[in-house]
Point group: C2
Chain length 267, copies 2
């Protein structure tokens, strides 16, 4: 499973402060830590909520350069604003396939975001929500996936670059939510077998105690359900333990070589 390190996200209080104060050392340390822990991509989200596209773009460029000084990983440029995505990708090293996080089926966002994905030949996290926001039922989310895939085909983007996120809503709101997300993922994969599935999973445990426990068990469920990538904290040792064990148990780790090596390396 592809691990996208989630720690550089300005919705987290300390990152927000670091972004506002241009504390580059803090950002670089977060990148280093995640790279050392084995992340495949580093997510970069510098949205501090001002809504000023130019300011966020400048800030994204600043952060992207820092992260690339700190490590040699491809990035996951995370913003709802296509101009910010573009600014981030322009600052990215060539020769790597980066991620855009994210596109949705929202009329306003779909085309401009896919234009950036096309131009920079990135992968893209595709959230199955549209102009109506997040819908409860599987069928509505699959319909969003269809609208996004239509745009992807129109733009001439290879389908295997699309990582659908079937969106997990808090378990505390409805006990069916986690199952619904996995089901939605399975249906999307059935309909678009060339596409991939990604999960931003921490929302599942919102409002409940021992959130990390719930998050890691849900990651195991996602592995079993055939998800290809997850946006997680790669420095959470128990989470990564669970990931390697789940891949081995789901038959996705030939001869358990990755599991055995991981156990050896993590001592």
């Amino acid at each position: 499973m592809i691990v996208i390190g989630e720690l550089i996200n300005a919705t987290r209080k300390k990152v927000r402060e670091a972004v506002l104060n241009r504390d580059g050392d803090y950002i670089k340390a977060l990148a280093e830590k995640q790279a050392a822990a084995g992340a495949d991509f580093i997510d970069v989200n510098v949205g501090v909520g001002g809504g000023d596209s130019e300011e966020e773009s400048e800030c994204m460029k600043w952060a992207v350069e820092l992260v690339q000084e700190a490590c040699d990983l491809p990035l996951c440029i995370d913003s709802a604003d296509a101009a910010v995505l573009r600014a981030g990708l322009e600052a990215c090293r060539e020769g790597k396939t980066h991620f855009v996080n994210s596109v949705t089926a929202e009329t306003k966002r779909l085309e401009p975001t896919l234009a950036v994905v096309k131009e920079f030949e990135t992968r893209v996290v595709a959230l199955t929500m549209g102009d109506e926001g997040i819908r409860t039922e599987t069928a509505d989310r699959v319909e969003c996936a269809r609208r996004i895939m239509e745009g992807v085909r129109k733009a001439g983007i290879p389908e295997d670059r699309v990582f659908f996120d079937p969106l997990v809503m808090p378990l505390s709101m409805d006990p069916r939510n986690p199952v619904l997300t996995l089901e939605t993922g399975r249906k999307i994969k059935e309909e678009f077998p060339s596409s991939a599935l990604v999960m931003g999973l921490s929302n599942v445990s919102h409002g409940l105690p021992r959130r990390k426990l719930l998050n890691r068990v849900f990651l195991a469920f996602a592995v079993q359900a055939g998800f290809d990538a997850a946006i997680i904290d790669p420095t959470d040792r128990e989470m990564i333990d669970t990931l390697y064990a789940a891949e081995a148990l789901a038959g996705k780790d030939e001869f358990c070589m990755n599991y055995i090596r991981y156990c050896k390396d993590s001592g």
Copy 2:
């Protein structure tokens, strides 16, 4: 999920010694520990491999009485020998539904074991193996389940007393093994929807490092796959953590009440 505490099993070296030396305090302590940790049933296996039915029967009676002094839980009388099962159940308190562990489709064992299940009105762990031993393919194991269910019906035992164990073979032998076990379980439940599924899961990790990690992630998979019971170590805190989280995430814990209470109680 029903938790059957597995610790009193003479295949474990210390238990074997306690059985041979008639060290009642050791057996009682294991029962108390498992009851305190929240086990629903206590498995009792005193087979030290002599093959003497009378001696094992006497020993089973001894152990059953000790366990019942130590706690008030129903038992899971564990032997391949119908006479030993009978001796254990005769020593069991009335007014509880106990378990027999186990029946198989083996010609020699099927009828005599089911006769005991019928007489003592117990539940039964039904291993999906027959005269040919354990077969690799799902279809062969489902065929064993059919043979057992035929015997169950002939004996007039209610079908919901039957807990099929689709048998987990070591992941280290074949990466398909865990997936195969879950698939076999799903197929059996499809064919016999009144029956239940049980898993004796520790075999999955045989020969691999960090066995407890693999065991608990596989327990999460089993919960998701609809298993009703597991034979596990209830004193393994991380295992029980995983169990509560998995049940909540699988939509089997209305309003997450059990999960929240567990988090509160376990501090």
